[in-house]
């Protein structure tokens, strides 16, 4: 169990780093599907687990001056209020229903990912062509 949890966390970290997507959703899915954790407990663990990883990223972004501190306090306040309501709602519905809601969300997310991968490919290929053309003129 211990080893599986650490490996799950690692795989999630690798994927979220490479794909540019939040690790939270992948953690929930892994915990539910591969570890047999209940939906609520999986979500609670994912919420806590994303905090240290986010802190590491935030420190880097802060140094690079990429955090917009004009809007951040209002976003954060909204998130705190919304987060409480969302979490209360989640804990007042059954495990089965919550899992179904999550699965709909995760399906939409994967379809969106499939779609953006084509846009990304187009951009990457255009950049490659441009680099090749520049090399040719030299």
């Amino acid at each position: 169990m211990l080893i599986i949890a650490i490996i799950t966390g690692m795989v999630t970290g690798v994927l979220s780093g490479l794909l540019g997507i939040g690790g939270g959703a992948i953690l929930v899915v892994s915990a539910v599907v591969f570890m047999g954790v209940g939906q609520h407990a999986a979500q609670a663990a994912a919420l806590v687990a994303m905090i240290p990883t986010a802190l590491v990223g935030v420190a880097k972004h802060h140094r690079n001056k990429m955090i917009n501190y004009q809007v951040a306090p209002y976003l954060a306040l909204g998130l705190v209020l919304g987060g409480m309501i969302g979490a209360y709602a989640a804990n007042n519905i059954s495990d089965t229903l919550l899992r179904k809601i999550f699965s709909v969300f995760f399906s939409l997310m994967s379809v969106q990912m499939f779609w953006t991968s084509y846009k990304q490919e187009k951009l990457a290929k255009a950049a490659e062509r441009q680099a090749a053309a520049e090399k040719g003129t030299k």
Binding site: L2, I6, I7, T8, G9, M10, T12, G13, S16, G17, L18, L19, I21, A25, V29, V32, V33, H40, A42, A45, A46, V48, I51, T53, A54, V56, V58, H61, H62, N64, M66, Q70, V71, Y74, L75, A76, L77, L79, V80, L81, G82, G83, G86, A87, Y88, A90, N91, S103, V104, F105, F106, S107, M109, S110, M113, F114, Y118, Q120, E121, A124
Partner: protein, 117 residues
């Protein structure tokens, strides 16, 4: 006006994040780019910062309902930080869009499995 928009965007991200146990960046980033005129890169960085208090409060609520296993969360976090380093160093060797496409298919099959079980 910007402040109210930011508050509403955060609120929306918070509800989804708290309900589904995710950070909410997937909701925040596009809304910030579209309604606040923040660049994609800055929206990513800023969303990472603001999801921290949201995730913490949501986790406290789950804790109140006896759903939080700190041991499990800790192991996820330890693995996650290690994995993030590995992911960052693998970056130059993979084509992200191919990986994304493969993962999208796997993710969809897992989602369906979760939904019907």
């Amino acid at each position: 006006m910007e402040k109210i928009k930011a508050l509403l965007i955060g609120f929306t991200g918070g509800i989804v994040g708290g309900l589904l146990g995710i950070g909410g960046a997937i909701i925040l980033v596009p809304l910030m780019v579209h309604y606040l005129g923040v660049s994609q890169h800055m929206a990513h960085a800023t969303s990472l910062a603001v999801i921290i208090p949201g995730a913490a409060i949501s986790a406290l609520v789950y804790q109140g309902f006896g759903q939080l296993d700190l041991g499990l969360a800790g192991m996820f976090a330890v693995g996650g930080i290690g994995g993030a380093y590995i992911g960052a160093s693998l970056m130059p060797y993979v084509k992200p869009y191919i990986l994304k496409r493969i993962f999208a298919v796997v993710a969809l099959s897992l989602a369906i499995r979760m939904g019907v079980s």
